[in-house]
């Protein structure tokens, strides 16, 4: 899984159209990014990458790229 694959997975999690977001997208501008999506994100990174995201870190994220950064160690 590389960074852009991971962005596509976030897109899928948020049920958005393909290539409708990129690493620069602001989370605050994505209506689909809500408390359910945050939990879905933690579940996805845990199940697919074995990364335990700390919720505190998650809520510091401003952009999709910041989310990708949380899983960076396991991305190619």
């Amino acid at each position: 899984v590389n960074r852009s694959d991971f962005v596509r997975r976030i897109e899928n999690l948020l049920e958005r159209d393909t290539r409708s977001i990129d690493e620069q997208s602001m989370l605050a501008e994505l209506p689909e990014w809500d408390s359910m999506a945050a939990i879905g994100f933690i579940a996805m990174t845990d199940a697919e990458l074995g990364v335990a995201v700390r919720p505190q870190k998650l809520f510091e994220c401003k952009t999709v790229g910041d989310l990708v950064g949380l899983a960076a160690e396991k991305l190619s």
């Binding site: 408390s35 199940a47 995201v53 919720p55």
Partner: protein
């Protein structure tokens, strides 16, 4: 720990009649899909956990007569009064004998399994011969425990009560329990104004869903494996695995991480939601789980957890009591 000398005899559960769907929310269908919860049972204003517990207990008294019960444990986060103990009030309602020891305990989502542990310890130590464990909670609107506009809590919770008979029995199969606590997480699920420390503050449940979810992923799969290891079982030995019915995301993630085959894993969420303390007992009843080798895991507010592996062959699982 392995406890010898206590046997679960019978399990009963009761729910109030009112149903509440997810149509309250504009994205209700999405919430239902995400949580796995289509509707909940919601107690009317004047129905308390003790009322639902009593409703669950009454059918048991025919086969397990009131005179034979010498220990009553009542667990809820919504007692009738802060004083006296709700167990004393239930003692009157169920007309239990005077020689009966009764007490209240407070736990939330770990309560059902935790309560079995309490009862088992007392019975195995010779402190009583027959215990009745009552575990119930009210969590849902219109009871005033939940903020109706709080999407983190409102769509999840339902109300229920349970009653379970546990006997002292030297020939009982061993019960393997693992309990645990992480007090550093108590702020993630709290009702601030529910006691004296912050008297006058909000009486609604406040939950940090992401923290609770992360806690579950971190602690519950190891709990499952610790219980199995201590019992000398593998997951293949289990006939049924029943977790606290938190929500579908938590159950799916925990099932995958523990490695439970789908056919052994019990989901009881769809029509009852997350009922907190009684959820494990309620799921055994509503899903008509066949008595056999059970792995039961309770976890949540506190943060607190309790796991049990037991050969429950021969346990009477009573039909669900629908309250009028």
């Amino acid at each position: 720990v392995i406890i010898r000398g206590a046997r679960i005899r019978a399990i009963s559960a009761a729910v109030p009649p009112e149903r509440r769907g997810q149509d309250y929310w504009p994205d209700g269908p999405k919430i239902a899909k995400f949580t796995g919860i289509r509707e909940r049972r919601v107690a009317r204003k004047n129905i308390l956990p003790s009322d639902m517990n009593v409703a669950a207990a009454i059918p048991l008294l025919e086969k397990y007569p009131r005179e034979s019960i010498d220990c009553l444990i009542h667990i809820t986060q919504a007692p009738d009064y802060a004083a006296p103990a709700t167990s004393c009030i239930v003692h009157e309602t169920l007309q239990l004998p005077q020689q009966c020891s009764v007490f209240d305990a407070v736990q939330g989502c770990s309560a059902y399994v935790y309560g079995l542990w309490m009862a088992s310890c007392i019975l195995a130590a010779g402190g009583a011969k027959r215990a009745m464990l009552l575990v119930g909670d009210i969590n849902a609107v219109p009871a005033d425990n939940i903020e109706p506009t709080d999407k983190a809590t409102e769509p999840l919770f339902g109300d229920a009560g349970t009653a379970t008979i546990i006997d002292a029995d030297p020939s009982a199969p061993p019960m393997t329990y693992v309990n645990g606590t992480d007090g550093t997480g108590w702020r993630f699920l709290v009702v601030p104004g529910s006691g004296r420390r912050q008297f006058g503050e909000s009486t609604k449940l406040q939950m940090d869903g992401a923290e609770v979810f992360a806690f579950t992923l971190r602690e519950i799969p190891p709990l499952a494996h610790a219980v199995l290891a201590e019992a000398g079982w593998s997951i293949d030995d289990c006939d049924a695995v029943v977790l606290h019915q938190a929500n579908k995301v938590i159950l799916d993630a925990a099932r995958t991480k523990i490695g439970v085959p789908a056919e052994k894993f019990v989901y009881g969420l769809e029509h009852f939601g997350n009922t907190g303390g009684p959820s494990v007992g309620l799921a055994l009843v509503t899903e008509k789980v066949k008595p056999g080798k059970w792995l039961l895991l309770g976890f949540g507010i506190g943060m607190s957890w309790s796991g049990l592996a037991v050969d429950a062959s021969g346990v009477d699982v009573y039909p669900l009591v629908e309250m009028p």
